[in-house]
């Protein structure tokens, strides 16, 4: 049975490993993946735990449907308390590791302590070995995976790993697998580095144990058809996520030169069609028919001939718009370097663009930068800074810290130019014309984040009847809803609904590109209820699945509150309110987020969640979600099983 997979508790200080079954009750409450990880995070860390200390946990999990006959069931979740923000650390990655981990017999790993010397874990046949990794320390994210395969003499082994950035405790180092799959955000790679944990390898031979194999296979064919016949999937298959760039940039929804402009001009070279010219094919994750990831060779310069995968839309923004570069080569090289070193592309580009604005304003000088000219659009400097950050060299050492730490080190009012929420940098999208998207990043549980609650289809201008069908399922909603992305009305509901949806798919281990994130006709709760039943035997209604996603999201809120977050943190930087967009189409130019209307949106958002006016979940809500084993503070949900 797929539900027989275990949780393993690994103590790297003592070398002790303990395994426990996952009860049905815990499954019904949290499903698996991210939701169950959040329960483990809350339960197995103490308030105020040092993110880079031995008492923080490094969590790894495969979602409930990972490795089954469900389409795109590839996702692995990683977590811990974030070294970037001090709040929830959580990121999600595709590829092939998650299925292999389940085949090896494990659904969740809770890793604590610190190994005396570098180690890696090897999961196989219901066992976990802690192996020496001294010879692997210092290797990049590709070599380490190859070397582990060689060492264990098995080409089928899949690994999660860190590169040099994680070893050097870059605060936004990520976890990687395969060539470019990245659990990018919140700096989980630095947690691994702090524990001397270089990699986790897995090879599985155990049967997943599908509940109704024939029926599951037949049903999944319907799901595949539903996903692949959607117009947006065909566009993704052809261009990958860069497809979004052309229209967002021409509309004026792309933050440029840190946050000074909202459109990159003369950017033909990094248009999706131009990037497509360099692609030699596409790659995909386990059980996915979309294959959204480009494969390319760098065509010129010192990296000529280097193979890599991507770039994602995020890299176009991080190494194009934000830093004012219009060269495809720069985007492709930087994309390669962050893959190689194991760093979050989004955070890397944002930190560089912030430094460039500081340089323009005279807050950073040539003396501070070691002679590097940080003028906008300086391709060589941008590439050099990626190296320096990964190695923590010179100015790179400051930029390798979290945005708020780096601003504290530089001083001179530099924090004013950071574009972040809760200490995590914003995507390169400019949300000033789009209140729903602005609300989403302001309230997101892991800091500024488009993958936590973005109602991305808000920009589609869908018929309102279609919006209503989506947003009133599986729980009823008859409040305002509008397809005008400039409106403030109805958006808090959309953001909350999306938070629960993304939480749910991260519990299931399904790719978000197979959900309403990309298109209105994608699978949702009804389909997931069928997939869960046919693959695992668990009978859950669409509403129960929705509530499981909500439960996990509520726990993230509770964790953040425990770690000191207040309503004050659910905000945007002042520039969103004070500086109207200077460029773009008439429907986006001159727009900003109105402070009063924004406050009303936050109030409504809390009310929809049934949180109080300070954003704290009410006792009634916790009881309704069975998170009601309360301590004196009234907000402690652990020990529920």
């Amino acid at each position: 049975m797929s539900l027989s997979r275990k949780i393993a508790f690994v103590d790297l200080t003592t070398g002790k490993i303990e395994t426990k079954p996952i009860s049905k009750e815990l499954r019904r409450k949290f499903l698996g993946g991210r939701g169950l990880d959040m329960y483990l995070l809350y339960k197995h860390t103490k308030p105020g735990v040092d993110p880079l200390g031995p008492d923080n946990v490094a969590l790894i999990s495969a979602g409930l449907l990972v490795g089954t006959l469900a389409s795109a069931s590839s996702r692995t979740h990683v977590g811990g308390k974030s070294p970037l923000t001090g709040y929830v650390g959580s990121a999600n990655v595709g590829g092939f590791f998650g299925p292999e981990m389940r085949l090896a017999g494990f659904d969740h790993l809770v890793i604590r302590g610190k190994a005396e010397k570098p180690v890696y874990l090897y999961l196989h046949d219901d066992e976990i070995e802690i192996r020496d990794a001294e010879h692997l320390w210092g290797t990049d994210t590709r070599d380490v995976q190859d070397l582990i395969r060689q060492e264990l003499a098995d080409d089928d082994i899949q690994s999660l790993c860190i590169g040099q950035a994680g070893e050097n405790l870059v605060k936004y180092a990520c976890i990687r697998t395969s060539i470019k799959n990245a659990a990018g955000r919140t700096g989980i790679g630095a947690i691994w580095g702090s524990k001397n944990l270089k990699a986790v390898a897995a090879k599985g031979m155990r049967d997943i144990g599908i509940a109704q194999p024939k029926e599951a296979l037949a049903y999944n064919k319907e799901i595949i058809n539903q996903v692949t016949s959607a117009k947006v999937s065909k566009t993704m298959q052809k261009l990958g996520t860069p497809f979004i760039w052309g229209v967002t940039n021409s509309t004026g929804l792309v933050r440029t030169r840190n946050f000074q402009l909202n459109q990159l001009v003369n950017a033909d070279d990094i248009e999706p069609e131009s990037i497509e010219e360099d692609l030699v094919g596409t790659a995909g994750c386990f059980a996915c028919q979309v294959h959204c990831r480009g494969k390319y060779f760098i065509k010129e310069g010192p990296y000529k001939g280097t193979y890599d995968e991507g770039p994602e839309y995020t890299s176009q923004g991080a190494f194009g718009a934000e830093v004012g570069c219009t060269s495809k080569n720069t985007v492709l090289v930087c994309n390669h370097l962050v893959n190689y070193y194991g760093m979050d592309n989004l955070e890397t580009g944002s930190m560089i663009s912030w430094a460039m604005e500081l340089f323009e304003k005279g807050i950073l000088t040539l003396e501070d930068t070691g002679g590097l000219d940080l003028t906008w659009g300086n391709d060589e400097t941008v590439i050099e800074l990626v190296h320096k950050i990964a190695k923590r060299e010179g100015i790179g050492d400051i930029l390798a810290d979290s945005p708020l730490e780096a601003a504290a080190r530089i001083g001179k009012d530099s924090e004013r130019y950071l574009v972040h929420v809760k200490g995590m940098s914003n995507l390169h999208s400019d949300e000033r014309p789009t209140p729903a998207l602005a609300l989403n990043i302001a309230v997101s549980s892991r800091g500024s984040d488009h993958l936590r609650g973005r109602p991305a289809i808000d920009l589609y201008h869908l018929p309102e009847k279609v919006l209503r069908q989506i947003y009133s399922n599986p729980i009823p909603y008859d409040g305002p809803l509008t397809s005008d992305y400039r409106d403030y009305e109805g958006k808090p509901w959309q953001v909350m609904w999306q938070e629960h949806l993304y939480s749910t798919v991260d519990c299931l281990g399904i790719c978000k590109y197979h959900t309403v994130f990309l298109g209105p006709n994608m699978p949702a709760y009804e389909e997931w209820a069928n997939l869960i039943r046919l693959n695992t035997g668990l009978e859950l209604t669409p509403e129960e699945i929705y509530r499981a996603g909500e439960r996990g999201y509520t726990l993230e809120r509770l964790f953040n509150i425990r770690e000191g977050m207040t309503r004050e943190d659910d905000k945007l930087v002042d520039r969103y309110h004070d500086e109207p967009t200077p460029l773009g189409l008439p429907v986006v130019r001159g727009r900003f987020i109105d402070r009063d209307k924004f406050k009303i949106m936050v109030d409504e958002y809390y009310a929809h969640h049934e949180w109080d006016e300070n954003g704290v979940p009410t006792r009634e809500k916790l009881e309704a979600l069975s998170l009601n084993t309360l301590d004196k503070s009234g907000s402690e949900p652990s020990n529920l099983v």
Partner: protein
């Protein structure tokens, strides 16, 4: 008459018109009428090959018309929505 709903990001090409009334017996004919009235929309709605642009999805009476959208029959009172696939942005 058939009503075409124009998305916000194409309204600078339609003199700010939110909707446009046309006659036509297929979605393709209706959209041709639209671009005849507002030629600037041609490149945004259609690819160079004359298919629907990869960033546009057409909804007919609140249901996706993809694939084969241009040949879908239309009747008096129908509503066409031109939807922009700006996802994730």
């Amino acid at each position: 008459m058939i009503t075409i709903h124009i998305p916000l990001i194409l309204r600078h090409l339609s003199d700010d018109a939110e909707t446009f009334q046309v006659e036509g017996s297929t979605v393709g004919q209706c959209l041709e009428e639209l671009v005849k009235a507002f030629p600037g929309m041609q490149a945004s709605i259609f690819s160079k090959k004359g298919e629907i642009h990869h960033l546009i999805e057409i909804f007919l009476n609140s249901k996706t018309a993809h694939p084969d959208e241009l040949r879908r029959p239309t009747v008096d009172g129908d509503e066409i929505h031109v939807v922009t696939l700006l996802s994730g942005g």
